[in-house]
Amino acid sequence: MAGTLTFSPDDRFHAFLTTCRKTEYGDGPLCGIPVAVKDNISTKGIETTCASKILKGYIPPYDAHVVQLVRGAGAAVVGKTNMDEFGMGTTTENSAFGPTLNPWDDGRVPGGSSGGSAAAVASGMVPMALGTDTGGSIRCPAAFCGIVGLKPTYGRVSRYGLIAYANSLEQIGPMADSVANVSKLFSVIAGHDPRDSTSCARPYAHEPSADIQGLKIGIPNEYFGTGVDPSVADVVRKAIRRLEELGATTVPCSIPSMEYALAAYYVTCTSEASSNLARFDGIRYGPAADSKKAWHEAYREVRKAGFGPEVRRRILLGTFALSSGYYGKYYAKAQVARANVRADFLRILESVDVIVGPTMPTIAFRLAEKSDPLSMYLSDILTVPANLAGIPAISVPCGKSDGMPVGLQIMGRHFEDERVIDVAYAYEQAVSA
């Protein structure tokens, strides 16, 4: 039954940038369910800023494909969630409008870049939310906030209406308080859309199954190596033993290309960003460029004032990596490295069904703990490989370390999102029983 939803939450963790007090909803599989949407996904008539000053006041004239779908399924889109500016960050501290706090400990970050969506779910304001994942931006905050988040196979969800950061890596995906709700939201947003040329005709209509008898799991050494907090690794090892008790078998494996995966990721995403973010010039949207000044001078003023430091740093890095004389050393090498990462994963996934490890190497950082950009980048090491390879990956809560949630990451073959969801469901059902 259609109706109107009133939404006036106590948002003490600053999960939302915009909330919609009254929202009309229709009939359908998500009838009346409040759904939060990350602020880099276009919502017709609702301000969409990517948490950037350069888009302050921008009201999209159209809905993203996924927003059309969730509205069409009867959901109430109740607000837009905070994020790292344009998705560039691992903590949500890079928002131009102030950080989101972790509902488990408000002295810690929620992870990023979809930190607002994760905090909105973890604090109980909404049961499900949309996030985006370019190098871990759904899975990292899901792990840090103790919720479930899926980065779908590349191409399974349309990116039409997603404000682009790194097109070849990013996917929109579901975040929720349970695997069943992740599955439910995914069934609404997956499928072909001609307006995204990389979208595939692979809809999702699956009921999660907790039967993982005979499942073969690969355990990569690299996911338990240097840089991974030993107590986080212990929590994850216990979770893997639980999967074995449920009838799965495990084999060790190795991903040699992990050595350079992170560098390949950062060269690729900054290069794509330098091109994508060229459109923000104060002409078609955003703060006005001074039309009396010359072209470049006017652009520079708008972009210096409108972009935060991390966005400007990534545009500079990407411009450099693509510039004449350096293209071969950085961008071209990164694409070869990326092909190697993909080949490593495909080779391992010939003999195992899924690959399992921690989502993040540590628990949630304290606010302002990571001030150096490179040390922040290094924390993405376990999530970026799935984006480079284009494979599905889910994070499901698997216990605590130092009182903070730890995420179990399950990666699978291309278009086998169903299987990673089943493994997460089997684990979740076993521990909640």
């Binding site: 330098s274 060229a278 039309s291 740093r313 490179l374 980048y377």
Partner: protein, 89 residues
């Protein structure tokens, strides 16, 4: 090693603007990050086409588009249905 002059030049190429006080910290961070990227020098080969894919073209087809007034609503300056930009010369 990238110098402050290099960073200033890249900032010009990217139309990003740069305060004098920003140059030193940006250059220092830039060098640390590029130092980390050097691991890519160990990657063998360099002739693989990116993604191993080719462009697939289709005929251009006229499809419904948003009304002009909706598109112009977010533009800071417009005139006679056109978006107004800064001067070129």
């Amino acid at each position: 090693m990238v110098t402050e002059n290099d960073v200033e030049h890249i900032a010009d190429l990217a139309d990003i603007g740069m305060e004098p006080g920003e140059l030193a910290p940006f250059t220092q961070q830039f060098n640390a990050i590029l130092g980390y990227f050097d691991i890519l020098d160990t990657v063998k080969g360099g002739d693989i086409p990116p993604h191993g894919q080719v462009n697939v073209m289709r005929e251009d087809v006229v499809a419904p588009a948003l009304p002009v007034e909706d598109v112009l609503r977010n533009a800071p300056a417009s005139e006679d249905g056109f978006i107004k930009g800064p001067r070129v010369m």
